[in-house]
Symmetry: C2
């Protein structure tokens, strides 16, 4: 039995609770007024998201999903932020080449480093995939994980996208930020599942998307544990691929890193096909969505789904577009479905 | 300005709040009375845990750690549950051998399957490591991840430890369960970082420890994405090692799967050395603890730290014991520090 509280202690809580009541009354009304997807135009894409969230989170709904199983996965490049004309991480690696050559001057006259140092954008854009992999290995491995994090952070704070003249982390899509937040408000865990480097994306995921490092799954290399001259342990990034988090690597990476199948997944290219299939294949109400880049004016238009040539970055092919229609994935048109694209766009 | 609430709607909340007040008053008193580490005897180990949690979670403390960085990692076998005389997962694999041989009868006369089928415990215990690995590969891979989960769940519900005659998931240490809960109550994320199979531990981690699958890091094999005859995608467990989550593999696995360095770590054997070093090596107040199995009566006593022979399971060596003293890791004596060992022990 609870010990009776003295009257003098009882008064204050009543006052506090009266205040609380006013606040509850206010906040309920505020919530009802605010549209969590304010940057979305009304239409099938927005409606699909809202109905999915209501169906899976309303107690008693036949599609109700317990909070622990509310896992939503998001591709990053082209789904959460700009990927055109080149992935930001590739820009980072190219920008790091001079420092790598300063440390190893013998590379200055060796390809592909020579071409990158020349600054000839056209020649750089034409480098074959093998050369690109060589540049990635040289610029992303061989240092400690702490050194890598510090370098990447510095670049992300200063480097600017050539079109918008803004740091890359500002080029996230406002409507997708709203989806992330809306899902989290409804008890979902939001994961990034990216073909990009896991260590790279983890540097800014918390600040850019509110997603902590442990909820970023990406292409990952091995590390090696060792000790410095003072016996202090540290991890070195090794040029050894553990997980290629593209295509079939996405569901495989989800199993490895999360261990549960998502019930909602968002992508924009052929690299996301298997993640979306895998998400839709389990029993129950599931959500699969594809972002279509069809807004040449406000962002970019690319990919065979619109009769445009494929780019070196992933794109929405006609086959994927057809699969979406067949399997009930919903295509998001940037042009039609998004009222604003970036937070810095005028309202 | 908030719209005034009609009087009829205002009455109910006041009643609810009056009830709430009584509940708040009650629960505050209950909390103050309850010792979160009730199964621990007073002593340096208990004191170290409580002081660490207070120092890292009290606003304004010089050792305060923001919630997002409160990561605690726990070895499983011998740290959270019984590992002697054989890891539960090895018991699972041995128990699975008859089913494997039923599917492939030609294995019946091939070693090491022949020995396992003989039921000769002494001979089985003497099988060399290579044979054990062959048994693990045959019993843990080659099926879909869903089939594996269903089989493991069935075994965990029915198989019993030969000494206590109870299902293995009941053989968790109550004092460590209290530490897990106490840390979580104080904003910590609690991870299992085990040399055991990640997929295996994830089957029962939520039910046994309140730890969801995505917070289990373990020895992990690859999976392969494919489609069944109806075109439905599924993942097959492959006999391909991605992460050997022992020794240096523990900090490497932590980097891969969590991406942050823990600030508290618990282990019991040489396999945990690097995880504890890595945890202690970063700046700030850090906690590293080792469970010493010195209670032959209530559990087991083994390992060179007590002048006993090493076992085939990981053990606390003299070198690790010395390192603990030198680097400020705290050794937990099961005999002296734990009032009760299992939840089923009498109070």
């Amino acid at each position: 039995m609870p010990i009776p509280t003295p009257a003098s202690q009882r008064r204050l809580p009543w006052l506090a609770l009266a205040t609380l009541l006013v606040l509850i009354g206010t906040s309920t009304r505020v919530e009802a007024d605010v549209d969590p997807l304010a940057s979305w135009n009304e239409g099938p894409a927005k409606r699909t998201i809202v109905e999915f969230v209501k169906a899976t989170t309303t107690q008693g709904s036949p599609d109700f999903v317990p909070p622990a199983q509310r896992i939503a996965t998001f591709d990053q490049d082209g789904t959460l932020w700009v990927e055109h004309p080149m992935y930001s991480q590739v820009m980072y690696c190219l920008d790091r080449v001079p420092a790598v050559v300063r440390a190893k001057p013998e590379l200055a006259n060796v390809e592909p480093f020579k071409t990158v140092l020349s600054g000839d954008r056209e020649a750089i854009a034409k480098l074959p995939k093998e050369d690109l992999i060589q540049i990635l290995a040289a610029t992303l491995t061989g240092m400690s994980v702490d050194e890598f994090g510090a370098e990447a952070r510095k670049w992300l704070d200063t480097a600017k996208d050539p079109r918008w003249k803004r740091p890359y982390p500002e080029l996230t899509y406002l409507p997708m930020q709203e989806v992330l937040e809306y899902l989290r408000q409804n008890g979902y865990q939001t994961y990034i599942v990216t073909g990009g480097g896991q260590d790279f994306v983890r540097v800014y995921s918390e600040k850019s998307y509110g997603i902590p490092p442990e909820q970023v799954v990406g292409t990952a290399g091995g590390t090696k544990y060792g000790y410095d001259a003072n016996g202090v342990p540290f991890l070195t990034k090794e040029p050894k691929l553990l997980l290629n988090d593209n295509d079939a690597g996405k569901p495989e990476g989800i199993h490895l890193m999360i261990g549960r199948r998502p019930i909602a997944a968002f992508g924009n290219s052929t690299g996301d096909q298997q993640m979306l299939e895998y998400t839709k294949a389990s029993a129950g109400r599931r959500l699969a969505m594809l972002v279509l880049h069809d807004d040449a004016k406000r962002e970019y238009a690319y990919g065979p789904a619109q009769g445009l040539p494929p780019t070196h970055v992933g794109a929405l092919t006609q086959a994927l577009y057809d699969q979406a229609a067949k399997q009930g994935w919903v295509v998001i048109s940037m042009k039609d479905d998004w009222k604003r694209i970036f937070a810095f766009d005028e309202e």
